[in-house]
Amino acid sequence: MSTAAAKAPTADGVAARARGLTKAYGAGETAVLALDSVDVDIERGRFTAVMGPSGSGKSTLMHCLAGLDTVSAGQVWLGGTEITGLKERELTRLRRDRIGFMFQSFNLIPTLNAAENITLPMDIAGKKPDGKWLDQVIDTLGLRDRLKHRPAQLSGGQQQRVACARALVSRPELIFADEPTGNLDSRAGLEVLGILREAVDRLGQTVVMVTHDPGAAAQSDLVLFLADGRIVDRMEEPTADAVLERMRLFSGGDPQTPGPDVGHGSAGPEED
C-alpha cells in the first residue's frame, strides 16, 4: 500500500485520507508503535466508526487525522489539504474552520452558556454564524429552551447535544467524535447517536466516531477495526451483534463490555 502514499487525493468523495500513517512513542529500541503505516480513506457524507481494543491506536488515529497530534511518518490530507507538515498556527486554524469535535466528557467551557458554547469556534474565528442555520441546528437538537444555561445546569445528554450543535453549526468538512456516548446513559447515548446519524443522512455531514461500544458502532455506515496500530478489518452496514462478534476475536473471546457503559476512562490515556 505504501506505493500509493505519495499520491495526493483529488477532491473526490474523500473527506480525509491517510497514507503510511505511522505514530511512534519514544525512540530507538523502546519505541512503541501506536499506528503502524495506516492507510485509510474517510468517505465524504458517511458515518464511520473506529473500533478496537484498548491500546489499538484508535484515538491516536483520530488525533492524527484531526491535526491534534503530529505523525512520525506518512501523510494525512483533509480534503485537498495535506495537513502533515502544516505549522501549529495553520493546524489550529484548520481545526477551527474545517473540523468539528465532540469528546467523551468535558466538552463545554463551563463559563460560557450553551448558546455561547455553540458559537464558540465561529466567535474565535471572528465569523458571524449563519443565523438561519444556527436556529435550525438548535431546534433540531431541541436546545431552544436551554440556550442561557451554563454547562453545570445541563444534564450529560444535554451537554453532549450542545457539543454536537457546536460541531455542526460551522458546517465542518468532518466531525470527529471521541467516545461521544461514553459518559451517557443508554437513552441519552442513543439520542446523541441519532443526531449524528441524522446529520449524516439529512445534511450530508461526514462523521468519524471512535467508540468501543458495539451498540454505538452499529449506528454507523462503516466500522474500521484497529488492532496493534493497524486497520485489520472493516464492516459495512454493521449491526451490534456482528460488531460484538468481531471484537471478540481480538481479545480471545473476552470482548469489552457491550452497551453504553459509564466509568470507562477516555481512550486517550489508555493508548498513550
Partner: protein, 855 residues
C-alpha cells in the same frame, strides 16, 4: 502523617516558591533594617565613646530650637584655666568648633556635604581621642592655613596648596590647605576644616577669649562622674552643662539617632508592606493548593486521619515554608544591610561593611516574622482543609470553598465597614486635630479590613462593569477572560487585595500631598508679597556678609530680614510652650500680607511686644495686651506684651507652634550673634524683576549656600519638599506592586493548571495560542484593575479625610491628582499584563492532547 506532609511540601515546592519569595522579601527588610541599625549604632557608640573627653563643659542648652538660629553659644576661654585648678583635673583645653560656616573653593562651589551633614570648622588639637590624624602636609600655623579632612578633599578634589574661602560669622577669610587629616574612625559624613588653635577662636567666634566648650582630662584614679561633680562645685552648674564622656557620647549618638531612626522606620515600613501583601499571597496559595488537593485530603480522611491531623499537616507545611523563607530572608537581609552600608558610604558616612553587627535579636525577629506570618496566613486555609469530608475522595468534588456562600464575609465586612465609615465621617466632622487624626487612623484601618474581607463580594459587581466591554472588544476570548476572573470571587478578591493595599496607600498619600501643595501655593499667593526671597535651601541661616551684599546690590529697594530665636513662653493657662519665634524688620507689610484679628504689624514688632496666632492665643487664654514671660537662650528672660493677633490660614503651618513673632531688634537683643534666615527683597522703582534677579544672582555667586527665589521658585521649593515624602510612598508602592505581581502570577499559574482540560478543549476546537495568551492576559488585567480601582477608591476616601485633618492645620485646599489616579489605573493594567506573561506562555505551550487527556 509527618512523612506525608514532607512529601507534599516537596511535591508542591514549585507552587510554594512565590509565597516563599514574599516571605523572603519581608524577612529581608526586617533583618536588613535591624542589622543596619545595629551596625550603625555600634559604630557610632564606639566613635563617640572614644572621642569624648572625660568631662566636657558646655554652655547651658536650655532651649533647643528645631530651627537653627546661626548663633553659636560660647563659654569664656579663660574657663579652661579655672577648671584646670580643680582637684583631679589632669588637663583642659578650650575647644573651638562651629557649624555655622560655609567653605567654598575657588569656583564658588561648597566643599561641604550635599546631603545635609554639617561642615565643621575647629581648632587643630590632637589628643589620643582625636578621630583624625595628619596624613600629609603639616599642621596649620597661624591665620591663612588650614587642614581639610581626606574624605572631603578626595570628593571635592582639593589638594594641598589650594585656597579655600571660609565664610564665618565674624567674617570671611581665606585659607591655604597645608595638610590633609584622615579619619582613623568612622567618618559620620561631615566636612572638617582645622585651623591653628591660636587663631581659631578669633576667626570663628570673633574673639580670642571665647570657646565653644572645655574638654577636661581626668587625673589618674578620678572617675568621670567624680570629676564632673567637683568641676560643677567649682564653676557652678547654672550657666554650664557638664557631661561625662559617657553622657557626651550618648547625647552625640542621640543627635545622630534621629537620622538613623528615619532609615530604620522606612525600612520597617517596607517590611510591613511586604508582610501585609505577603499574607494575601500565602493565604491564596494555600487555599488553592488545598482546593487542588481536595481529593487527596479526602483520601487521607477516608483512611482515618482526623480533622486535627489534616489541619496540623497543612500548618506543618506552612511552618516549613516559613522556616525556609525566613532563612533565605535572613541571608537576603544581610545583603540588604550590606547594600545600605555601601549606600551610606556614598553619602559620605564611612561605615565598614566588614564590621557588620548581627545581634541575637535579628534572627529571632526574622524567624518570628517569617514563620509567624506564614502560620497565621495558612491558618484559615488549614481549617478549610480540615473540613474536607472523606466523601471528597470519591466524588468528582466541587473545588473546596468555591460554592460556599460569602455570608459571613458580607456580615463581617459590612459591620467593620460601617464602623470604619463612621470613624472617617467623625474625622471629617471633628474640629480638633488630635481627635480627627486618631479617628482618621481608626477609619483607615477599619475600612481597609472591611474592603479586604468584603473584597470577594465586590468582585462580581465591579468586574462585571470593568469587563463589560470585553466581549464587545475581544469577542469570546474577552467574554471567557471576564468570566474566568469572576469564577472564584474569593481567589480574585484575595489576589486583588494585595494590589489594593498598596494602591490605597498611594491614593491617600497623593491626595494628601497634592492638597498640601495646593494649600501652600494658595498661602504663598496670599501672603508672600516680596519680589524675591534669598534663602538657604535647608533653611540654614547665613552670614551677615550676604545680607550686606544683597542690600548693596543695585536696584534693590527694600530688604526685610527674618531671623529665628528659640523661646519658651509661659501662658496664662499655666502651660510653658517651647517654640521658635521669628523676628522681622519693621517693613514686613511690604513683603508679606499678614491678616490681623487685632493689632497690627507696628504693634507686634514694637520693642517689648510680640505677635501671635489668634487660635493659639485663644487656646491658651491669651488676649491682646496680655503680658507674657518669655525665656530666651542662655537664661535671658523678658516680659513681652501681646501687640497683635494674626489670623492667617495655616498660621502654624509654616512656622513653629504659636506663630510667635516680634521685631528683629528683639532677636538681636536676646540672641546677639544670630544670623539671618531669609531676606525678603523688593525692587527699587524702575528696576525690572529679571534685571534685579540677574544682579542678585551675580552678587550671590560666591555664596552657593543661598538662592534667589521668586514666588514660582518658592512654590517649587515647597513642592519639592513635599515630593520627597511622595518618593518614599512610591518606593513603598513599588515593593507592594512587586509582591502583588507575584500574587497575580501565582493565582494565574495555579488557575491555568486547574483549567488544563478546558484549555485543551479550547485549543482543540481552534483557539490559537495567541488568543489563549490574550485570554489569560485579559483575566490578569481585569484582576489587577479591580485591585487598583478598589485601592484607589479607598485611597481617595482616605485622602479626602486626611485633607480634612490638614484643614484643621490651616491647609484648606483639596486637590485630587487625577493624573496620578489615571496613571495608576493604566499602570495596574500594565502590571496585569506583566503578571500574565509567564502563566500565559505556560498555558499556550501546553500540549493539546495532554490537556484533553488531563485527569
Amino acid at each position: 502523617m509527618l512523612r506525608a506532609t514532607l512529601r507534599s511540601f516537596l511535591a508542591h515546592k514549585g507552587r510554594l516558591m512565590l509565597s516563599a519569595l514574599a516571605i523572603v522579601l519581608s524577612v529581608a527588610f526586617v533583618a536588613g533594617s535591624l542589622i543596619f541599625s545595629d551596625t550603625v549604632t555600634r559604630t557610632f557608640d564606639r566613635l563617640f565613646a572614644s572621642t569624648s573627653a572625660d568631662v566636657t563643659v558646655e554652655p547651658k542648652q536650655d532651649l533647643k530650637s528645631s530651627v537653627p538660629t546661626g548663633a553659636v553659644q560660647t563659654v569664656p576661654a579663660a574657663l579652661a584655666g579655672e577648671v584646670a585648678k580643680v582637684d583631679g583635673v589632669a588637663g583642659t583645653h578650650a575647644d573651638v568648633s562651629v557649624q555655622n560656616i560655609v567653605v567654598v573653593d575657588s569656583h564658588d562651589k561648597s566643599v561641604g556635604s550635599t546631603t545635609g551633614a554639617p561642615t565643621i570648622a575647629t581648632d587643630w588639637y590632637l589628643t589620643h581621642r582625636s578621630p583624625v590624624k595628619l596624613t600629609s602636609g603639616h599642621t596649620p600655623r597661624g591665620a591663612g592655613q588650614a587642614l581639610l579632612d581626606a574624605d572631603t578633599a578626595g570628593k571635592k578634589h582639593v589638594r594641598i596648596g589650594d585656597t579655600l574661602t571660609v565664610q564665618a560669622q565674624p567674617g570671611t577669610f581665606r585659607v591655604e590647605i597645608v595638610g590633609i587629616a584622615t579619619f582613623t574612625t568612622t567618618n559620620p559624613g561631615a566636612a572638617l576644616v582645622f585651623l591653628d588653635p591660636a587663631v581659631a577662636a578669633k576667626e570663628l567666634l570673633g574673639s580670642a577669649g571665647r570657646a565653644t566648650s572645655i574638654s577636661v582630662d581626668a587625673a589618674q584614679g578620678v572617675t568621670d562622674a567624680q570629676l564632673k561633680t567637683r568641676i560643677g562645685a567649682a564653676i557652678g552648674t547654672g550657666t554650664y552643662d557638664l557631661k561625662t564622656a559617657g553622657e557626651q557620647a550618648k547625647s552625640s549618638a542621640a543627635d545622630l539617632g534621629g537620622f538613623l531612626d528615619v532609615i530604620k522606620y522606612v525600612m520597617l515600613g517596607f517590611a510591613g508592606i511586604a508582610t501585609m501583601v505577603g499574607v494575601f499571597l500565602i493565604v491564596n496559595t494555600f487555599s488553592m493548593l488545598i482546593a487542588q488537593r481536595t481529593r487527596e485530603l479526602g483520601l487521607l480522611r477516608a483512611l482515618g486521619a482526623d480533622r486535627r491531623q489534616v489541619r496540623r499537616s497543612v500548618l506543618t507545611e506552612a511552618v516549613l515554608l516559613g522556616l525556609v523563607g525566613s532563612t533565605l530572608g535572613l541571608g537576603a537581609g544581610v545583603g540588604l544591610a550590606f547594600g545600605l552600608i555601601k549606600l551610606m558610604t556614598a553619602f559620605g558616612m564611612n561605615l565598614k561593611a566588614t564590621e557588620m553587627v548581627i545581634g541575637w535579636g535579628t534572627p529571632v525577629a526574622a524567624y518570628a516574622v517569617g514563620v509567624g506570618v506564614t502560620f497565621v496566613a495558612a491558618y484559615l486555609p488549614a481549617r478549610r482543609a480540615a473540613t474536607v469530608s472523606p466523601m471528597a475522595a470519591l466524588a468528582d468534588a466541587e473545588i473546596a470553598g468555591v460554592g460556599k456562600p460569602l455570608r459571613t464575609r458580607a456580615v463581617v465586612g459590612g459591620v467593620v465597614g460601617v464602623l470604619g465609615v463612621a470613624a472617617l465621617a467623625g474625622c471629617a466632622a471633628a474640629t480638633r486635630t488630635a481627635a480627627a487624626a486618631s479617628l482618621l487612623g481608626l477609619g483607615v484601618v477599619l475600612t481597609l479590613i472591611a474592603t479586604v474581607v468584603a473584597g470577594p463580594l465586590l468582585v462580581r459587581p465591579v468586574i462585571r462593569v470593568l469587563g463589560a466591554a470585553f466581549p464587545a472588544l475581544f469577542g469570546s476570548v474577552g467574554r471567557m477572560s471576564q468570566r474566568n476572573a469572576l469564577r472564584n470571587p474569593r481567589r480574585t478578591g484575595a489576589t486583588a487585595a494585595a494590589l489594593m493595599v498598596g494602591l490605597a496607600l498611594v491614593g491617600g498619600m497623593s491626595v494628601a500631598s497634592a492638597s498640601m501643595s495646593k494649600s501652600f501655593d494658595q498661602q504663598i499667593d496670599k501672603t508672600l508679597g516680596a519680589d524675591f526671597v534669598v534663602q538657604n535651601g535647608n533653611f540654614q541661616p547665613f552670614t551677615q556678609e550676604i545680607t550686606d551684599k544683597v542690600r548693596g546690590t543695585e536696584g534693590v529697594g527694600l530688604v526685610v530680614r527674618q531671623r529665628f530665636a528659640p523661646v519658651a513662653v509661659r501662658l496664662p493657662d499655666g502651660k510653658r510652650v517651647t517654640t521658635t519665634a521669628a523676628g522681622y524688620d519693621p517693613q514686613v507689610d511690604e513683603v508679606a500680607h499678614v491678616a490681623y484679628k487685632g493689632g497690627d504689624t507696628a504693634a507686634a514688632l514694637a520693642a517689648g511686644s510680640l505677635g501671635m496666632d489668634v487660635t493659639f492665643a485663644q487656646d491658651h487664654k491669651v488676649r491682646l495686651g496680655s503680658v507674657l514671660p518669655v525665656e530666651f537662650q542662655g537664661g535671658k528672660r523678658a516680659r513681652m506684651k501681646v501687640g497683635a493677633l494674626t489670623d492667617q490660614d495655616g498660621g502654624s503651618g509654616f512656622g513653629a507652634q504659636g506663630g510667635l513673632f516680634f521685631g528683629i531688634a528683639t532677636v538681636q537683643k536676646y540672641v546677639p550673634d544670630g544670623q539671618d534666615s531669609s531676606l525678603y527683597v523688593n525692587r527699587a522703582p524702575g528696576t525690572g524683576a529679571d534685571q534685579l534677579r540677574s544682579r542678585l544672582e551675580k552678587t550671590l555667586a560666591p555664596y552657593p549656600q543661598v538662592q534667589v527665589r521668586d514666588q514660582a521658585d518658592y512654590k517649587k521649593l515647597v513642592h519639592d519638599q513635599i515630593a520627597v515624602l511622595l518618593y518614599l510612598v512610591y518606593a513603598l508602592l513599588g515593593l507592594a506592586i512587586v509582591i502583588a505581581v507575584l500574587g497575580v502570577v501565582n493565582t494565574l499559574a495555579l488557575s491555568v493548571v486547574e483549567r488544563t482540560r478546558e484549555i485543551g478543549l479550547l485549543r482543540a476546537i481552534g483557539l490559537a495560542r495567541r488568543q489563549l495568551r490574550r485570554m489569560i492576559r485579559l483575566e490578569s488585567v481585569v484582576i489587577a484593575v479591580f485591585g487598583a480601582v478598589l485601592g484607589l477608591a479607598l485611597g481617595l476616601v482616605w485622602g479626602v479625610c486626611t485633607q480634612q485633618v490638614l484643614a484643621l492645620q490651616g491647609m484648606k485646599a483639596l486637590a485630587v491628582p487625577w493624573g496620578t489616579v489615571v496613571a495608576v489605573v493604566i499602570g495596574s493594567a500594565v502590571v496585569g499584563i506583566v503578571a500574565a506573561l509567564l502563566p500565559a506562555l505556560r498555558a499556550s505551550r501546553m500540549n493539546v492532547l495532554a490537556a484533553i487527556a488531563h485527569e
